[in-house]
Symmetry: none
Subunit: 128 residues, 4 copies
DNA sequence: GTGGTCTAGACCACT
DNA sequence: GTGGTCTAGACCACA
């Protein structure tokens, strides 16, 4: 499904969260898809089940997945991941900070715009 | 100088790092400016000197400041904060991830571009 | 594992760094080996855990070990300790300085070459 | 005479020591040459006189210079800098450690030998 | 005065 | 159990 990088400073559960989030956002995992069980995934990643458990809880809290007791864990449809004002604000703040740092490091506006255009093209959506 | 949020999930020293980094990037602290001494800042923030020192050491590793034992701590000139490839790559990766998440949440390209324009205008530089 | 010299001018954490670095370089500690936990080593050396942790953090910055919070600390494989140009340059500079000093003190080229041959033989590798 | 690098982690007095040592070893300063006075040098380097004082004391201890009260400070003739067994041993140990680290980082024997040949040629002496 | 190191001991997050 | 953070307070080296 994905790989962990133990050398990273990120905690393991955080990496699990980020990876699954990316799979959902990229459309590899779609609305109502079933996620592997905690036991399965923990075995596949050779990590402690508690770690996966914690990651699932966090993803549920962030609105990306939901759990039906006895049935399993499923991907939320994007429409349900309400445009949470607080979260959106945090994300924008992060972007703001990171871009400022890149500018400080000497990256030009042009280079940053280029980066963004690539992003838009990757998604290939026309909503602007 | 700035305020700490003790309720934040971020550790104190990390908040100190981020705050000072912002001051440097925003140009409030300029090249060769002297930072408050470890003791001064720890008193001002009512935290332990060790905590401030840890933050300063981290900032030094990141290339934002330098330390002369016995004299004090000073802001590095941006030209010295070499365009560290690894760091730049990490920043771009963060931006990539965050923007994708915003798009997933329903934000439009137009809104994102607007966000960026504001950023560029804030800095008011002509380097593109 | 090794002994500290409390009378040394070197700080304790620095001695820990140097000793572990030598163990890694000499191949006593190999890639992916687990280091003693911070608490274990601090107990063995009868120093404060913070001191050991500081040493471990420094070794991590230098690329010799990596840390997985909650799991432990492990030796990096040499291939990951990227040929850091800055560090290599510093080392060469140190060698340059030291050899010049030996020459100044009257040591002959032959004696220095002999010293180097011993070094190469110790490692017994054929890469030249 | 020489420049200090405040950004260096080395203390200032240590840099003064190293720089003067290099000048002596390189033959820029010769036996019985007079060094600038503490006041002169401290003014030239814009550092505290105590710092230069401390550097001179260290150089005297290491046998590179000597002070004649009321007359000034002078370079020792190399023959006086006795082949101090302890110091020579320390130097060799440093070289040993540094070369091992270079080897560990992936530098080849050939590259190291090359480095050494350059050193010998710089001095252009025939004693081997 | 400055930063740097160290201790003793507490508390938290992650596995 | 692991590492990570923080405090209170001491002592040292450097400028």
């Amino acid at each position: 499904m994905f790989q962990l990088d133990l050398k990273s400073r990120k905690s393991i559960y955080e990496q699990v969260v980020d990876n699954i989030k990316e799979l959902v956002i990229a459309g590899v995992l779609n609305s109502e898809d079933k996620l592997p069980s905690v036991r399965e995934l923990s075995k596949a990643l050779t990590v402690n089940p508690n770690t996966v458990q914690k990651a699932y809880r966090e993803l549920e809290y962030q609105g990306f997945i939901y759990t039906v007791s006895g049935l399993g864990t499923f991907v939320t449809s994007p429409i349900h991941s309400v445009m949470d004002g607080k979260k959106a604000h945090e994300l924008q703040d992060n972007i703001r900070r990171d871009i400022k740092e890149l500018l400080y490091m000497g990256m030009t506006r042009a280079q940053i715009n280029e980066l963004l255009q690539e992003l838009f093209e990757e998604r290939g959506e026309g909503n602007d």
